[in-house]
């Protein structure tokens, strides 16, 4: 018998394999947690593949997937905030202990300290290389809001990286 007693379908594997790496890296930057990133990516794929199985324009898939990942990460952090408020005690995730690995480590800590919306704006703008207008569309907020979020976030990142 062949190596697989069951076989996979063709197209959704292609979409998955073409985008899973990018999706995971984006989710990791948005959350700072690889397990959470995997969960978010899985949720986003299931949702988008399930809903857009007949997508005519395969190029649009990443647009939908990216949006789903960003929305899910925002929902996650919103939920965390509610839980903290509900329990009436602050439990911020402390920065990971360990040796200072330099700028990358400082950026990791600085990203974790940003508000989720700010972090998403920075990641979409400077990692995904989206324009400000596209970042606003992906986040579902006005252009002016993106400009101010990115500006404030970049100020904090510059401080953390000692670039002032």
């Amino acid at each position: 018998m062949a190596g697989r007693g069951v076989r996979a379908g063709g197209r959704i594997e292609d979409l998955y394999r073409a985008h899973v790496g990018d999706a995971l890296r984006l989710a990791y930057l948005l959350t700072g947690d690889r397990h959470l990133a995997e969960d978010l990516v899985q949720e986003a794929f299931v949702r988008v593949l399930g809903r857009f199985a007949d997508l005519r324009d395969a190029g649009a898939f990443w647009w939908y997937l990216r949006r789903a990942i960003v929305n899910r990460s925002r929902s996650h952090f919103r939920r965390k905030r509610v839980e903290r408020a509900w329990l009436d005690r602050q439990r911020p995730d402390p920065p990971a202990d360990g040796p200072d690995l330099g700028d990358r480590d400082r950026l990791r800590r600085a990203l974790a300290a940003l508000r989720p919306e700010q972090r998403a704006a920075v990641v979409l703008r400077y990692y995904e290389d989206l324009s400000e207008a596209d970042t606003a569309e992906a986040l579902g907020v006005p252009l002016g809001t993106v400009k101010s979020m990115v500006s404030r976030a970049m100020d904090r990142l510059r401080d953390e990286l000692g670039e002032r």
């Binding site: 018998m1 062949a2 190596g3 697989r4 007693g5 069951v6 076989r7 379908g9 063709g10 197209r11 959704i12 594997e13 998955y16 394999r17 899973v20 790496g21 995971l24 890296r25 984006l26 990791y28 930057l29 690889r34 990133a37 995997e38 990516v41 899985q42 794929f45 299931v46 949702r47 593949l49 399930g50 809903r51 199985a53 007949d54 949006r67 789903a68 929305n71 925002r74 929902s75 919103r78 939920r79 905030r81 509610v82 839980e83 408020a85 509900w86 700028d103 990358r104 950026l107 990791r108 920075v122 990641v123 400077y126 990692y127 290389d129 970049m154 990142l157 510059r158 990286l161 670039e163």
Partner: protein, 444 residues
């Protein structure tokens, strides 16, 4: 300035490179995605919405009307709306699959507050109304004995609003009792009145839905956002409009199609800063025109009528996940589904699915789209899918045939193994020229 931006770009790329791909993720993700596609498509193809509407509505009991708002309906706290019916929840879960997933997460120790209706209502206030978590005040409605009613209010917004506030209606749609998670099923906004529209009202894609109503309190500087969501309320609305409230509102929205047969109507009374001081949210049922996510079965040239009819019947049963119906289509005297000692095809297929493999619901719809081949046996013709199952020598595959197998998910390594074994050993399906389904089997 530019130098910092370049540096941050580079650091972000380095940081992103830290995360590796878990090889098990692909299987888990694609299995769930296929199940969702097949389920959506089967529901659409079966046109079962009427029954689903009846099932969902019939299980609901009318609650006592709330002052100033519509009359939310709710189900008994026992899980009488079975999975397979339209999902009646609107937040945070919007599908049975999400409900199952989130219940599992809670069982594993995550999100313990999802078992508290007050906490879920508070989360709704933050996520959908835009309130700060620290501002949310919740109060359980003590008079309610079905499900849970939780009033939410925000002292930093419109202090003139009457107590106790907006009522969030929640139900345990899966497990009931301690440990079961709560889902918002409707929201009745303080100071918002809707006319002529009710929870579980049936709408049709393309219909112009008039959302008529008015604000009874605090209309100054308030805009009314009216949206229809096909999915989470925290996502992008499928249709939306914003109107000022001047002695009432009545915008019209074009009803979009729905992937799972439900939409959520959300009406928010919005402050200039974007926060909503009140909101009403209702599930709507979308009749008729759901888009099948599974491709329809296209006719294939050259098939005798009996074969084409049986092929279509097998496809529909498989796509609907109806394993008993599928087994009933097989020729009882000759059907081969396993080379083992199994006698019951349904039990065998269920065992495959339980082991995480792909059952007929996932394999057959795509298999029947592949080109077919023919074999002659006893003076009769046998039609087989895929074509490769009718070939003796797979080393002679043309590039187009090779591509057709790859489209079914077979790799070059799989194909080499078939060549070495002397024949195609993947899932294959055969129908005799007189329309008898005689095998659906893999291996040798």
């Amino acid at each position: 300035m530019r130098g910092v931006e370049i540096k941050i770009r580079e650091l972000l790329r380095e940081l992103a490179g830290e995360v590796g791909l878990d090889p098990g993720l692909e299987g888990r993700t694609l299995r769930r995605a296929r199940r969702r596609r097949v389920r959506n498509g089967a529901l659409g193809a079966a046109g079962a919405l009427g029954m689903l509407v009846a099932a969902a509505v019939a299980t609901r009991a009318l609650l006592a009307p709330l002052p100033g708002g519509p009359s939310p309906r709710q189900a008994p706290s026992s899980p009488s709306v079975a999975p397979g019916a339209a999902f009646p929840g609107i937040y945070p879960q919007t599908s049975w699959e999400e409900l199952e997933r989130d219940q599992r997460a809670v069982d594993e120790g995550h999100h313990p507050l999802w078992t508290a209706p007050e906490a879920v209502a508070a989360e709704f206030a933050v996520a959908v109304l835009g309130w700060d978590p620290e501002d949310v005040v919740t109060e359980r409605n003590p008079r309610q004995d079905l499900g849970a009613g939780v009033y939410i209010s925000n002292p930093s917004l419109r202090p003139e609003l009457p107590e106790p506030g907006t009522q969030v209606q929640l139900e345990q749609l899966g497990r009931t009792g301690p440990g079961g998670i709560w889902t918002v099923t409707s929201v009745s906004g303080v100071g918002i009145v809707l006319e002529g529209i009710d929870a579980f009202q049936e709408v049709r894609p393309g219909q112009e839905l008039e959302v008529r109503g008015g604000l009874t309190l605090g209309t100054e500087a308030t805009a009314v956002e009216v949206s229809l969501f096909d999915g989470p309320l925290t996502g992008e609305p499928a249709a939306a409009t914003t109107v000022p409230d001047q002695a009432g509102f009545g915008p019209r929205l074009t009803v979009p199609p729905s992937a799972d047969g439900t939409l959520t109507l959300l009406v928010r009374a919005v402050e200039p800063d974007g926060r909503a001081w009140s909101a009403t949210a209702l599930p709507l049922l979308v009749a008729g025109a759901r888009e099948p996510a599974v491709p329809r079965l296209e006719p294939q040239a050259g098939l005798p009528e009996a074969v084409a009819a049986k092929r279509e019947a097998i496809f529909l049963a498989a796509a609907a996940g109806d394993l008993e119906g599928l087994a009933a289509l097989a020729d009882p005297a000759t059907f081969t589904f396993s080379y083992g000692a199994d006698r019951d095809p349904v039990r065998y297929w269920r065992a495959i699915e339980a082991a995480g493999g792909e059952g007929p619901a996932e394999v057959i719809p795509e298999l029947l789209h592949a080109p077919y081949g023919t074999l002659r046996s006893g003076g009769r013709t046998l039609y087989v899918w895929p074509f490769a199952a009718a070939m003796d020598d797979l080393s002679a595959l043309t590039p187009a045939q090779r591509q057709a197998l790859r489209a079914l998910g077979y790799t070059e390594r799989d194909i080499r193994s078939f060549v070495a074994a002397g024949g195609f050993l993947g899932w294959r399906l055969g129908i005799t020229e007189d329309g008898r389904w005689i095998f659906y089997v893999a291996g040798d």
